[in-house]
């Protein structure tokens, strides 16, 4: 695989680093109780959202999960409105009504996320159906975890997408766990790629979190999708560095070992891509990110809480 041009690498690095740092800040702020909902951090998994989203057009659509900060940010949605949402503020992307698990930004093509595992997969298919009719070559991406593949709706959605040749990329973020349960306690075997292919679509895996390999794969798959070849499936292996929900590590709990973490940290994509960029450029990017995060936190702090009168608005359109 040839290395992408420096402008691409810088953009990819910026995105990876922004997500990492923003979530580290979320974790730092969390104990202060300023954040008003449970948070599911993607620290360690950034390369998937970034590898995929960097291969998309701005008018493409992504659909994430309750572990959705990374997809939201990687697709270009604004950090300040995300932070305000976590703070329960009226300026939040969901006006303080959704919280961390329900990030959304339709203007940036980020569909609303759901706290019920797997439920957004068919929604992305429905969106893809509309994109197909529109005929402008736009595609949709559905991100979901390994656990979500166990929900029946996943199988149903694969079948429908293949049948209708929808411009839909399924991306399974396989971090090996659903909460504290390893895939070994949930699957007899891992033949997910084979299974997806059996519905009639190209299916491939990226096993090492390599952001550039993933990006190259998605560029290739999406090209076909824009031309009408139908859906595709990607299994991207990864690893969650923090606890399932909340700001901390949880290796003391005993359900997994720190050694696994260390193996993934050794190939940390933020560090790796950062290393491909000249130190001065990198420092400039890092500094800009810190400024952006500080501003976002400030924005969240200073924003007003929703007025109680808003309790019932938007129940119906």
């Amino acid at each position: 695989m040839t290395r992408p041009p420096m402008a691409d690498l810088e953009r990819i690095y910026r995105s990876l680093r922004l997500i990492r740092r923003a979530e580290e800040e979320v974790a730092r702020v969390y104990p202060s109780d300023k954040i008003k909902s449970p948070v599911h951090l993607s620290i360690g998994q950034e390369s998937i959202a970034v590898g995929v989203c960097d291969a998309l057009r701005h008018d493409d659509i992504v659909s994430g999960t309750y572990r959705g900060h990374a997809a939201y940010l990687a697709k270009g949605a604004p950090l300040d409105r995300m932070m305000a949402e976590l703070y329960g503020k009226d300026t939040g992307c969901a006006r303080g009504k959704g919280g961390s698990m329900h990030l959304v930004d339709m203007a940036q093509g980020v569909l609303g996320a759901s706290a019920v595992v797997g439920t957004t997969i068919p929604l992305a298919a429905g969106f893809a159906l509309a994109l197909k009719r529109e005929g402008k070559g736009r595609v949709a991406v559905s991100f979901f975890g390994d656990g979500a593949t166990e929900e029946g709706v996943f199988a149903e959605s694969l079948n429908f997408a293949a049948l209708h040749r929808l411009p839909l990329l399924f991306v399974c973020e396989n971090n090996g766990y659903a909460i504290h349960e390893p895939t070994a306690k949930r699957w007899a075997t891992n033949r997910l790629v084979e299974r997806a292919a059996s519905y009639g679509m190209p299916a491939e895996a990226v096993n090492d979190g390599d952001v550039l390999a993933l990006r190259a794969l998605v560029i290739r798959l999406v090209e076909g999708m824009r031309a009408g070849t139908g859906p595709a499936f990607v299994e991207a292996k990864t690893y969650r560095w923090r606890e399932h929900v909340g700001p901390n590590e949880d290796f003391e709990a005993g359900y997994r070992g720190r050694r696994d973490l260390e193996a993934w940290q050794a190939t940390d994509q933020v560090v790796r891509i950062g290393g491909m960029i000249a130190p001065a450029r990198r420092a400039a990017i890092d500094a800009a990110i810190e400024t952006e995060i500080a501003a976002a936190l400030q924005f969240a702090e200073n924003s007003p809480v929703p007025d109680p009168a808003q309790l019932t608005t938007d129940t119906y359109a």
């Binding site: 959704g98 339709m106 569909l111 997969i121 298919a125 429905g126 709706v153 959605s157 079948n159 429908f160």
Partner: protein
């Protein structure tokens, strides 16, 4: 305005006409659901639509109610206007998660960024051994959850108006359609018109008791009122048409006048629409005498001897109303002849 002239049309034809007219008007409207495009066309209610609008706008689906509902919601969020059809309301149990956790909540939990303009059409089955899983009226579950509208037209005129209103509405709307209403004929204007949601209709004025019927129980209540007239009880019959939003003022006005309410539903009563109606009446008009009728509190049997006792019918409704109006009189039941003269709804296939 030659269009305004009413014509006699059946409920099922009114549904089909409504869909066709809206699809003609608005290219975003489409119809999906198991078997909507086959030669039977959901008892005729979607028949011919695929020939007229093509397979992109009228398509069957795999047997995947859960994902298909998600697809409809996603398409609606993307700006299309799906009509998702289910030949039995019982099957909605397979897509409760999408309806309750996504469709009803999207607009709110995404801070107003999306709308979900979708219609879910679902049929209540009855008779001829439909049995436990093909006969349920489960609309109360949807009434329970804010964010969904629920319509239950009881005649062809309102079926057309409600379906058009549902299609034009920017929210998820459940159409509760009772199979036994499909062949019933009413005067239906040809030109499109939308029902005003949240407006009940007083079908019969009366002073002694309010009979509020839901869906197929509306004609049954009208028949019951006929039976009651013969013993000098003057029943008012109300058709709420729309269950969410509900015309609470019309209910209150009627029960304040009559002092008595019998709420009759094509469904179970516990936590049902009839419980809600009773509760609203009790809150708004303290002192009113209240009773409910609905499915017997059991699973629906297939044997006719049991099935008959499972459903309310005009005689049972009339007898219950009589008790409310004349609590101290001795038990009354309409004569068999009278009962026959108002024979209730029944059918035997096709399924």
């Amino acid at each position: 305005m030659p269009d305004a002239a009413p014509r006699a049309l059946s409920y099922v034809d009114a549904l089909r006409e409504a869909a066709a007219q809206e699809m003609e008007r608005d290219p975003r409207v489409f119809v999906m659901g198991l078997d909507v495009d086959d030669h039977k066309g959901i008892q005729g209610s979607t028949k011919g639509l695929v020939d007229r609008f093509g397979p992109e706008r009228v398509f069957t689906t795999p047997l995947s109610e859960d994902a298909m509902t998600g697809v409809a919601i996603g398409a609606a969020q993307a700006g299309l206007r799906p009509i998702h059809v289910h030949i039995r309301m019982d099957f909605l149990m397979l897509c409760m998660n999408q309806l309750v956790n996504i469709a009803a909540k999207s607009r709110y939990m995404y801070g107003g960024q999306v709308k979900v303009p979708m219609v879910v059409r679902a049929m209540i089955g009855k008779s001829w051994g439909q049995g436990a899983q093909h006969s349920q009226g489960l609309h109360a579950m949807f009434m329970h959850v804010p964010g969904i509208k629920v319509l239950a037209p009881s005649n062809a005129h309102d079926a057309k108006g409600c379906l058009i209103a549902a299609i034009r509405d920017d929210n998820p709307v459940l159409m509760v359609e009772h199979r036994l209403l499909y062949p019933l004929i009413a005067e239906v204007p040809e030109a499109p018109y939308a029902a005003r949601l949240g407006e009940a209709r007083v079908l019969r004025k009366g002073t002694d008791i309010t009979l509020l019927g839901i869906s197929a129980m509306v004609p049954e209540c009208l028949r019951a009122a006929e039976l009651l007239r013969e013993i000098g009880i003057d029943a008012e019959v109300i058709d709420p048409i729309s269950l969410v939003p509900f015309d609470r003022a019309a209910l209150a006005a009627s029960v304040r006048k009559t002092g008595r309410l019998l709420a009759v539903d094509s469904a179970w009563t516990m936590c049902g629409a009839s419980a809600e109606v009773a509760a609203m009446a009790a809150e708004d008009a303290p002192g009113v005498r209240i009773a409910r009728l609905g499915f017997a509190p059991t699973t629906c049997p297939t044997a006719p001897s049991l099935e008959h006792a499972f459903y309310p019918n005009p005689a049972v409704i009339a007898a219950r109303a009589h008790v409310l109006v004349r609590p101290d009189a001795k038990t009354w039941r309409p004569s068999p002849e009278a009962e026959r003269s108002v024979t209730g709804l029944n059918f035997k296939g096709p399924f």
